[in-house]
Every structure is written in C-alpha cells, then in structure tokens.
Symmetry: C3
Subunit: 261 residues, 3 copies
C-alpha cells in the first residue's frame, strides 16, 4: 500500500505541557518522513462534542492523511480504540463519537478495525496516555502503508459510537437549532444548514433579540446582531464589531430559536 | 520563477478552533513541498496594529518566503486583498495596514497586485474565511513560482493602506513615545529607536516612576523599573523579576513620557 | 559528523508574540533541511523548574535531536550558555538547571562545552533574546554536524547547575513528595516513582482527603480523588471527572503527604 505523507493531530492536550510535542516525537522516531500538522490541541478538556465538530470541519481541507483524534475521557477503560478507513484518509482514535463527523466528512467508513494488535503499540502502554502509546504509533504504522487489517479485527461501522444528533427543527416561520461551537471571535455556529434560513426573510428575532440577515460581519450596523452562513456552510450569529456570544449569552448545547418578524 | 520553499502564517485565528490547521491543510493539498511555519495565530482578534508589529519584527529572520498575514476585520467587504513583492519575499493579505511594516522590513515593495484572479481562489469563496479561500491558496500558488502578475492587476504601492505612524517625539530632556506592544513577559515596547535615549542619562522618570537605564533585565534592583533597548532595537521598559506592565499600567496605544532626572 | 535531522524547542516565550516563530525562522535560514518540533512554548515565564520537568519527560520520545531549552530569567548576565552531548542527542540552553533532567533522561552528559564562539552566534547579540541570537544558531550549526568542541571550551559536567532535588520521603505507612507539575487536566504529578506506593494499600489519605489507589481516571467514583501512576511513571493524583488540583488545592513546590488508612 502507498501509505500517507501526512498525519494530523486533534487533541485536548493543550500546549502548556509536553503532551502534544511527545506525539510529534513518537511519530518522528517511527515514521520520520511523515509531515505532522496540528489541527488543534486546545479542545476543552474532555469535550468530545467540540472535538468532533472541529475535526469534522477541518479534515476536508487536507490531502489524504491519517487523522488522529484524542479527546478521550474514557482512556484506560473498556472503550474501544479504532481506525476507520474512508475514501480520503484514515481516522484513528477512541470510539466515543469523536471521529464520527469527520468520517462522514471524508466520505464515510469503508472499513473499521478495533486496535488490538499490541505489537503496534509502544511497549508498556500507560493507562492514561494512549495518544502516545497507542494512537500515535498506530498512525505512524498506517502512514507507512501497513494494511489496516493488521491492526486488529474488523468492526461493523454501524456499531461505532455516535454523538446524539444536535437539535434542529424547522417550523412555520421559525428555526430552532443547537449551538455547536462558539469560536474565538465569539461567532456562534448553529446545527443548521444554510437552507434552513430560506423563507425567514431579512428581519429576524434570535431568542427575542432583533437581528438582520447578512452576508458578512460588516454588513450589520455596528453592534447589531447578524445571522449569516458561516465558512462551514452553517447558520451562524455574529455581532458586527463585537462578540455574538455576548448578545444571546449562549454556550454549546443551548438551543436558539430564530423567528421571522 | 523559482518560487519559495517557505510560507509563514500570522493571524488572529487563535489555536482553539481548527482555522489555523485548515490553512496548513489547504497549503499541504496544493503545494505539498512547502514548509509552513506559524509566526503566531494569537494576535488579539481584529488587532491590525498588533499583527503588523509582530509580523514586521519576525519576517527579517526568515529565509525568502511567502508571508501570509490575516488580521482582517473587514473580511467580506470592499477592502482590497493584495500580494506585495519585496526583495526578500512576498507578503499576502488584506490591504488594511497589516503588511506595511513587514514590507518595509523586507526592503520595500517592488511590485504590488490586487488579488482578483478567482481561478487562484478556492471555489465558492466564503464571506468570512478568506484565509482559507483566498490567501492560503494564493500563497501556495506564489510559492510554486507562478508570476505575481497573474494574480491580478498591478497596484501603485503608494496606494497601500498604512497605519498611522505611532507617536514619537524627542524633546529637550524627554522622549514621548507610543506603546507598540506588551509582550508575554510584560515588557513594554515603545515606538522609539535606541538612539532616542541618547543624552537622557542613567536616571530616568517614566510617567513619573523612577527608572534606571540598563542593558538587560537583571541589571536593575529587583522590582526596579528599567529602560533598555530590546531585541528589536526599540526602547523598552521592564521590571527586573516582574512585569513592567504592572508598574506603569499601560496598554498599546498609550503614550509614555520618559524624562531625565 | 553526521549531524541531526531534528531540533526541538522548549521555551517560555508563549505563542502570542513572534518569538517562537523567529526561532523557526533563524533555523530555517541557516539549516533549512532540519525539521523543527515545538515541545512547548508555554512554560510559565521564568519557571525553570517547570521547564526542566517538561523537557525531561518529553525528550526520551524523540529520535536523536538537538533539543533547545530556553527558560532564561538570567539572560544577559554572567550565567553560562552550554551545549551538552548525550548518547541520544544534544541539549542547548542556559546553564541554570533547565537541561539537567533532560540530560539524565537521555543517558547523561558525555561532554559539555560552554558556548563562547561568537562566530556561531548572530551578529550583534542582543541582551535579552539569546534564543534567537545564540541558542537557535548554535543548534542549527550542531544539527549540521559541526563538532561540539568548536562551540567553545569543554566544561566539567559536574559543574553544571542542578536544581534542588524535589522533596521525596518514604516512611512507615506514608509518602511525602513534592508536587512537580499540575497538567492541563488538573492532574497532580508528584516527585515519587511508582514503587513509592508499594505497601500503602488501596485506601489512602492525601493531605487528609480520602483517596483510592486506581489504575486509570475512570476507576474512581465520580468526584473521588484517586492516586495512580501516571504516564511518566510517577505517582500522581486525579479526580475522576474533575480537576485533582481543586481537591487538594496544590501548586508545584507544595509537599503532599499520602498515608495508608
């Protein structure tokens, strides 16, 4: 097999400890030709849902790669470790829902294996750092082109853990949708596609606050809440020159109601 | 043309979302041989002035490169997107002043083009993420050695947006200068060259606070404010063993007065 | 000499300024074939002890490399700058204890030189940014395979500055140990090897708080303090589903007492 030249990393390890650097080291030692890209290591600790959203929205922009995701509050327990072959790369990580959105974004699972072949792991696997001891070494081996089937027994893709679908309801003159992420700029991404805005018009209420349909941040009056389609194709909220999150005071998981006025 | 082996990235995207990673992905997909270096993604959101200072002080230390800067509160509006050829590399980003200092630091603009050739962009350019859809793909193409002139029409370099010059006034026995940046260590960099300290002597007042002229942090008494020339050749303030910013309580944009005593 | 393909960076420069990016630039300009990996740039400013712990725990996972460490509150003073040859790579940085643990982790010092050869430095070495002007250029030259002895005069390894050994005392039914680090997840690492727990049993008191000996985070009841062996082989504390640091309220340098019940 041809293997992969690229490995990406998405974790909640942060950048203050050496954990993310160690993943680079393990891969460098084992597959020195591989180019490693950090998608982010700043997923909030243990926030599988947030990690899944970041990963799903980033992987489509990469060349074929082995994508490692480690947001793994169940590390050391019976939760399965998996590798998922898709048409556009392989995903490696815990089977806790983290990889599901990215799997869809890369074209769906062609085959899945449970990572059980201990000869692919580092010796003396720790109970708490499977990124270093399991996922990075497995990714390095897959990047080298070793067949996925050698990593462990095949799993039925239908048995992969999936996160609950976020709330999204379209009604007569309204849209209700769950907040997926609030980004660094305070822009609020909802679990609704662009088409969900069809027919709601230009003048909207978001949780009772007046808002305007706009194309870009600067379209609204300064300080005005705008509803737009973000760069991932989702309905989103922003405040021109401000932080959208301040206006509606929302966090991921909240459900917002947008109504026509 | 020979092209470039290096692309650098300076943005306000932060590292908590996948935005910076996506830039790496776009470049990897399009110009896989390029080596990508992050200068910083932690410019405060929308702080063009701060981004310009960081970029200008970093680019001189790189080999010839395509430097991408994206601090772009006007994304999606009529603000121009540009590429600037200098003797030591190309700068790519919005025409909002972000690139001006770096242009000077690399030897000045030889030629400038407005980025209008949509065949160089990603299809379906979003309104809010031109780093991904415009600047990264353009940088990848320029790194491949495609002539700058193919990216769009030439612009007169004199029309590039420049930030206001920071305040700097030298008088009889005093120096007044604007705070450019406060770095992670609390060191306060002023918009004044080393020579601005000539003739002020060893014993100084900074906004009324006693300070000492010193070569390095440890020269002052512990807790004492020192005035020194920083690693960018600018006048700067620090507290030995502390954070300078605490003493004068300043932020970028403030103007400080240093007087001889 | 063969030289090295890898350079790692561990600093307290943070990621908000361009300092870390500049190190990459200097190395890229001087040794473009080298692959540079960031272990971390988020060591708390000036915290040599923390930097030493991060570096020592990360370097064993890398292929042979030049490891640059810069946590250097004495920059610009008479503190020595050194390069340390070990069986598995070279360490470069200030002689303030930062490199000692990593030296041990890589098999000990074979030879040490004081960095005095100014032709290896950047011209016009600043007083405050030796990462850029001294350590990065020296690392690039060593990666190129230039003999260590050309960097300056040999030093007796026994004269290298070492940090005080952290407190660790094993008694009859108790363990007292210093807190080395508190990681991003709130896990508290103590300066005690796994064997220090032998004979203390399953039910413990940590500073008077009930705790349980466990293998992994999820072994305890939710909210319960657990004592486990972390991925570096050290005794550590965590709270299942929480932040260990909240329970005992500790910071690095504190000494905790663990007793059998």
């Amino acid at each position: 097999m041809a293997g992969y030249e690229w490995i990406t990393l998405t974790t909640d390890y942060g950048l203050s400890d050496g954990f993310a650097g160690v993943l680079h080291g393990v891969i460098a030692a084992q597959a020195p030709w591989v180019r490693v890209v950090d998608i982010t290591h700043q997923v909030p600790p243990g926030d599988v849902s947030r990690g899944a959203a970041v990963l799903a929205q980033a992987v489509p922009y990469f060349p074929p790669a082995v994508h490692v995701g480690v947001v793994d509050p169940g590390v050391g327990t019976a939760r399965r470790a998996v590798a998922i072959q898709t048409p556009r790369g392989i995903l490696v990580g815990p089977d806790n829902g983290l990889l599901a959105g990215a799997t869809d974004a890369l074209g769906g699972a062609i085959s899945v294996v449970r990572l059980t072949n201990r000869s692919w792991f580092r010796p003396d696997v720790s109970h708490t750092f499977h990124g270093r001891d399991v996922f990075a070494p497995v990714a390095a081996r897959l990047a080298a082109g070793v067949p996925l089937a050698d990593a462990g027994p095949a799993l039925d893709p239908a048995t992969l853990v999936r996160l609950p679908e976020p709330v999204m309801e379209l009604g007569d003159g309204y849209l209700e949708a769950e907040v997926v992420t609030v980004d660094r700029f305070g822009n609020v991404q909802l679990a609704a596609p662009a088409t969900a805005l069809d027919g709601l018009g230009e003048h909207l209420l978001v949780g009772g606050v007046r808002a305007t349909r706009a194309d870009t941040f600067a379209d609204g009056q300064p300080g005005r809440l705008i509803v737009y389609v973000d760069s991932a194709g989702k309905v989103a909220l922003a405040v021109n020159g401000g932080r959208a999150v301040v206006a509606p005071g929302v966090t991921p998981g909240d459900v917002l109601r947008i109504t026509a006025t």
